[in-house]
Amino acid sequence: MDIAKEFTKGLWAEIPPFRFVLGLCPTLAVTKTVETGIGMGLMLTFVLVFSNILVSSLRKVIPPRVRIACFIVVIATFVVIVELVSQAYTYGLYQKLGIFIPLIVVNCIVLGRAEAFASKNGVVASIADGLGMGIGFTISLTVLAAIREVFGAGTFYGINVMGPSFEPFTFMVSAPGAFVCLGIILCIMNMFGKAKDM
């Protein structure tokens, strides 16, 4: 099944950002806690799926010369929707993610999928692609956030898991820790084959 393949490639073979090294800013910035990691992953999935649907259904009417501008308008629209909805219903998360919600607009994954996949494929395949990539990204962020939160703060999703005598390894939640932690995960992924370099 082709559709199944489009979906599953985002989960392992091309999982962003570990294999498909794009969208690093939110990866590093919002993975201090599992809550923000999952939140960002889901928001990105929403934007990715809907922008893929729109771009692929409009692919025949969009003139090639203004396609990037059209993609940006479509993506930005969905980002603003996410911004408004999260502000209305999950205000705490909205405050914690801060400027990284509007920054989904310039997340290379979204524009990259619109340009490389949705503008060349049908709607159903594009949904599968967007969903797969989005879920893959969510999984990656959750894994990275889990490592950083458990070691850096001794908690998982805000719940203490390391016991009261645990001394938090605060390096993990600081900026340098984010870079090093991602570097080590990329190194582990390299053991299973080469990452797609940018």
């Binding site: 003139p63 010369r65 203004v66 501008a69 629209t77």
Partner: protein, 196 residues
């Protein structure tokens, strides 16, 4: 030529649809967002000055027009009867407007509390006023029928040492708030009489 027209039409259409969609979402979420912002940003300050009330002042809020601007009022029920109403006002500080929430007792027309929500004062100085309990306590019980002033200006409020301009700004805001209260008192009572 046809290409250029097509380009403009497509781009324009997409932008138009996007605009309409966003306007719709905005309309749908506006009220909810306002509530969330009040709850998370100003809520803690409002709840602090209305401590002990039995209703949810933020949920029961109502709006009244004062000249051009719309002001949010937060009614608070104590011992089963509507006693105090809190509302927002602004005073001029050192670095810009200071956002103030003040609570007024409806029966005695006296201030029961004051809190600062937003300010752009020099870091450290503005916070001095924001956190000063003695400053906030010296405001309590003052009548809203006369201007509220710091002691240096012939009033009754203790200015915070090192933050005179900010203290003065807060008092000025409170005086302005008193005017709003006096002008709108009847409307407030009319609006709030059903709240229990």
């Amino acid at each position: 030529m046809r290409d250029i027209i097509k380009m403009i039409v497509v781009l324009g259409l997409i932008a138009g649809v996007a605009g309409a969609l966003l306007a719709g979402v905005r309309m749908g979420t506006m009220e909810k967002i306002e509530y969330q912002e009040l709850k998370y940003v100003k809520g803690p300050v409002i709840m602090k000055i209305l401590k002990g009330c039995t209703n949810n002042p933020i949920k029961d809020r109502f709006k009244l027009k004062y000249g051009e601007e719309e002001i949010n009022f937060f009614p608070a029920v104590f011992d089963g009867k509507l006693d105090v109403v809190a509302f927002e006002t602004t005073g001029g500080g050192f670095g810009g407007d200071i956002g103030i929430v003040m609570a007024v007792n409806l029966e005695k027309d006296t201030l029961t509390g004051i809190g600062i929500t937003t300010h752009k004062e020099t870091p450290g100085v503005g916070t001095l006023v924001k956190d000063s309990e003695s400053f906030k306590n010296s405001v309590k019980g003052l009548s809203v029928n006369q201007p509220i002033k710091v002691k240096n200006d012939g009033g009754k409020v203790d200015a915070v040492t090192g933050a005179t301009v900010t203290s003065r700004g807060v008092c000025e805001g409170a005086t302005r708030g008193s005017e709003i209260y006096r002008k709108l008192k009847n409307d407030i009572l009319a609006k709030a009489k059903d709240i229990k």
